[in-house]
Amino acid sequence: MFNVVAPENLQIAIDILSGENTKVIAGGTDLMVRVRQGMFKPDVLVDITRIRSLRGIKKTDDHIEIGATTTHSDILKNPDTPPLLKEAVSKIGSPQIRNLGTIGGNIVNASPAGDTLVPLYLYEATVEITGKGTKELPIEEFIKGPGKTVLKQGEILSNIRIPILKGYKHIFHKVGERDAMAISVASMGILYKTDGDILQDIRVAFGSVYPTVIRIKEVEELLRNQRISKDILIEASKIIEKNVKPISDVRATAMYRKKVAGRLIFRLLEISR
């Protein structure tokens, strides 16, 4: 048994969270699963979804800012949402899960399969931490490993800032065991910009094939300023297979994940057709 408090004031929430065996709850779609499994037994859950300042999407000149408790459904509805993030979020769970689940929860959960993370790594988003004061970190530094972040007791993730990239297109491919309500077995996101049939810029990241989401810069460098061809993709595919370090679990074998990650890059052929 535990108590739930739902303050409307950020500072009060932070104060309560400094206490022992307290935990943030946003949508609860990850947390409650683990509480049910008995993986931890909190005394107090601090529901942060009533704190206005943590919710909503704002556009500045060069950034999109998303409050940590903004739900996936709100993200989908908002016209300012960066397109790759929008597509990735549309693949999360089901409408019910998207109505409850938040982007902050997805990030702090730090699962290599978290669907918002591939886009956030590619956009080079930063996250804002609020505790005793605030600080801002690149997403890649915020996430330390599976389920691990730099957050300390008494700190919350408050905001996500995404630089606006102009002229980029994207590819997102989530491989799950089925087409809804599925945790990804492997996923790939690509942001790219073309000049004629030349790839002027490209960023490539994978989910679920490494302890964290992984960007593969070697592939980006290989493909930058190149014309897409089958041959170059075969090479890229090999680099990907070399860089990923997937695990085997009840969903899929490591071998499958590795192979699929390597093969997904061939989707780039579509842009030259």
Binding site: R178, I183, R251, M255, R263, E270
Partner: protein, 751 residues
């Protein structure tokens, strides 16, 4: 009023369900109700050395911890073989065998107590592979040995058949344990009421349960009442004892209301499942595609206990070569004990397993002979009067050819080439076809009857007593509809009940595609008798000949006047206000000697067409078009029929692509819906549902039965379509994307 037959009728249980008013077994609760839970074995095979409940009994809120010593009956149950113990005595045979039953006032206490019970084991060597388990030196799970049942059937001369063939195709196939995934897991409530142990449970077999409870606990049947309200799905999982005896034991000894409701994890690990099987086939055919011989060896893994292992395997044996003319055959079926989870009844009952195998064989023959996959099936399809592959004669309605003809008229058939032409470099499409048939009823040698009951009420309305459980399939609505038609009365005049051993009559299980056929038949008989009584007194009262009286809505009319049914009620002696009627299920005229539970004689037939899209980058398969044509006799309520087809096809697509329990040393690794992957609405396409209604004269209004037939063919149809799309032939279910991409090198596959 016969006009109501074949017309949509809203489910009679629809309103109470969608408004939340219906109390499912898991909803039942009264003040003071104790919660029940089980301490279960963590080893797949072990001797119990000692059970220590001391610490556990001290947990605040724990009321009682039962062991087998608290049971004064046989402590045994099982449908055919009484090999399961209510609470284990000396030995456990799978992970999940119940050792102690705990009653507590709240969930936390229940859980804590279960954790605190200490069981000391002597771990025994275990066996998880049925083929291994058949070997001489395998660990023995039961004293009788590991082979629960061996059924052999031969017909014609199989050696001669192979000699006469131009080609012989061999293949081996495997399928995993499948979970039924009903929305409501095993659940129930019990208390002492009017001196009787009264159990409300999600059960397909209230009458059989009463016997089982009585024997296991040593309490006379007349002291036990079992009630089966509408419950949240069964599909065979609740065809027999799950929670009923635990409820009865605790209510009887503690004299308090008790409740049990399994978590999904507990349910998946400990319930009955569709049997895993390995199957070896050899099929011979002439150059023109005509089958000459089929031989097979089927090994069904029944897990730790018999349940329906022998019977399910026997159904596999009966249907092993499909709805085709096979002049020479031999089949050996084995049901084998292992230390795995338990195999039992599940929709299809042995037929889904063999359908996957024999239909794959048909495709392979077609391919080898360069023949069309539809044509080879049509050429060999059984017709009325033919002998089946096990040699009995089809003397009832036989519509497989009609389903094959009809599928070519479907929109999907006509549109499939266009759909397939839309393939892209990474997504290849293809179509597949499969046929199946499914016997209705329990088969030769097993008592298979129904006794219906109908009553005229004081208001002039009627009550139909539903003798067979309605787990959500809609049979109660069927009974109301049949009664409405036969009594020439609007549906609103018909009340219904669900089964209750004190009020309704034993009519057997809700199973085997028999539920509406047999109870409907009995009901028509009961109604005829009641009608006769009604018309008799009406005729006397109106002083006119009986045959000039007509039952219309709530009255009897004749030239001499009209009399309301509430009047008739008063005129009828009490006994005659209720009528009952008993019927037996028809059985085969020939080959009754084969065994128990086979063969059948009333069959439903189907042809399925699937269009799939295979992603060659990931190996993932999507079913993008599906058509089911089935012959289930007359369809009396089209939306209920469509629901049965759509549900069965979805379940079959699950079995094809994603379902299957992943076992590690007897433990289910995917034991909840995060990892046991059933298809969702986006994973199943719009299904084109077509009925060819080969009326069955023995059935109520020509009906046969539709509960199972459409679950058999989907895996074979999907696998056929995958091969058509990418040239990969899958022989082990569920289809593994990994296996598919292993066979397709991207470098070669894309231009």
């Amino acid at each position: 009023m016969k006009a109501i037959i074949g017309k949509p009728l809203n489910r009679v249980d629809g309103e109470i369900k969608v408004t939340g008013r219906h109390l499912y077994p898991s909803d039942m609760w009264e003040d003071g109700t104790l919660l029940l839970g089980l301490k279960r074995s963590v080893h797949p095979h072990a001797i119990i050395k000692r059970v220590d409940t001391q610490e556990a009994s001290k947990v605040d809120g724990v009321v009682r911890i039962f062991t087998y010593k608290d049971i004064s009956g046989t402590n045994r149950y099982g449908v055919v073989h009484k090999d399961q113990q209510v609470l284990a005595e000396e030995k456990v045979r799978y992970i999940g065998d119940a050792i102690c039953l705990v009653a507590a006032t709240n969930r936390e206490a229940l859980k804590e107590a279960i954790d605190k019970i200490k069981v000391e084991y002597e771990v025994l060597p275990a066996v998880f592979d049925p083929v291994e388990a058949m070997k001489e030196n395998a660990p023995k799970i039961h004293k009788s040995g590991n082979i629960l049942q061996h059924t052999t059937v031969s017909y014609g001369d199989v050696e001669k058949g192979f000699k006469e063939s131009d080609i012989i195709i061999e293949g081996s196939y495997s399928v995993p344990f499948i979970d039924h995934t009903p929305m409501e897991t095993e659940a129930g409530f019990a208390k002492m009421q009017d001196g009787k142990i009264t159990v409300w449970a999600g059960t397909q077999t209230p009458f059989r349960d009463r016997k089982e409870i009585s024997k296991a606990l040593g309490i006379p049947e007349e002291k036990i009442r079992v009630i089966a309200p509408f419950f949240g799905g069964g599909f065979g999982r609740k065809d027999g004892i799950t929670v009923q005896i635990y409820l009865a034991l605790a209510a009887y000894i503690l004299k308090r209301p008790v409740k049990i409701y399994y978590s999904r994890e507990e349910s998946i690990q400990t319930s009955y499942h569709r049997h895993a099987a390995v199957m070896y086939y050899k099929t011979g055919a002439k150059r023109d595609g005509m089958l000459t011989a089929v031989q097979a060896r089927l090994i069904f893994d029944t897990g730790a206990y018999a349940s329906f292992g022998g019977e399910v395997m026997s159904l596999g044996v009966e249907h092993f070569a499909g709805p085709y003319r096979v002049p020479n055959s031999r089949v050996d079926g084995y049901a084998v004990y292992t230390n795995n989870i338990i195999g039992g009844a599940m929709r299809g009952f042995g037929v889904p397993q063999v359908t996957f195998a024999f239909e794959s064989q048909m495709d392979k023959i077609a391919k080898a002979l360069n023949m069309d996959r539809w044509e080879i099936r049509y050429k060999n399809a059984l017709e009325h009067g033919d002998k089946t592959a096990i040699g009995h004669t089809l003397i009832y309605s036989t519509g497989v050819k009609r389903t094959l003809k009809k599928v070519r008229e479907s929109n999907l058939w006509k549109g499939k080439d266009k759909l397939i032409a839309e393939s892209t470099p990474f997504k290849r499409r293809g179509w597949g076809i499969a046929c199946s048939y499914q016997g209705g009823g329990l088969g030769v040698g097993i008592p298979d009857f129904a006794e219906a009951k109908v009553e005229l009420l004081p208001s002039g309305r009627y009550r139909v007593y539903g003798g067979i459980s309605d787990m959500g399939q809609g049979n109660t609505t069927g009974y109301v509809q049949i009664a409405s038609a036969a009594l020439n009365a609007p549906v609103e005049m018909i009340e219904y009940t669900t089964p209750d051993t004190d009020r309704t009559l034993d009519s057997g299980p809700s199973a085997a595609s028999r539920t509406t056929y047999i109870y409907g038949k009995a009901l028509l008989g009961a109604i005829e008798l009641l009608k006769d009584e009604i018309l008799q007194v009406a005729a006397e009262k109106l002083s006119c000949p009986k045959n000039s009286c007509k039952l219309i809505d709530d009255r009897v009319e004749s030239d001499k006047g009209t009399i309301h049914l509430s009047e008739i009620y008063k005129l009828l002696p009490e006994k005659k206000r209720v009528s009952t009627f008993y019927v037996d299920m028809p059985i085969s005229k020939d080959r009754r000697d084969i065994g128990s539970g086979l063969p059948h004689i009333v069959y439903a037939y189907a042809t399925h067409l699937a269009v799939v899209e295979v992603d060659i980058l990931t190996g993932k398969v999507r079913v993008i078009g599906y058509c089911s044509v089935s012959d289930v006799g007359k369809v009396i309520n089209p939306p209920v029929f469509e629901g049965q087809v759509e549900g069965a096809v979805a379940q079959g697509i699950g079995a094809a692509l994603t379902e299957g329990i992943k076992l590690k040393d007897g433990l289910a690794l995917n034991n909840n819906f995060t990892t046991y992957i059933v298809p969702t609405a986006v994973d199943v396409p719009q299904i084109e549902v077509i009925a060819v209604e080969s009326a069955e004269p023995t059935g109520p209004f020509g009906l046969k039965g539709t509960g199972e037939i459409n679950v058999d063919a989907p895996p074979a149809a999907v696998v056929s379509a995958i091969e058509n799309a990418v040239g990969v032939r899958v022989s082990s279910l569920p289809v593994s994307p990994e296996e598919i991409i292993k066979s397709i090198e991207v470098e070669d596959a894309i231009p």
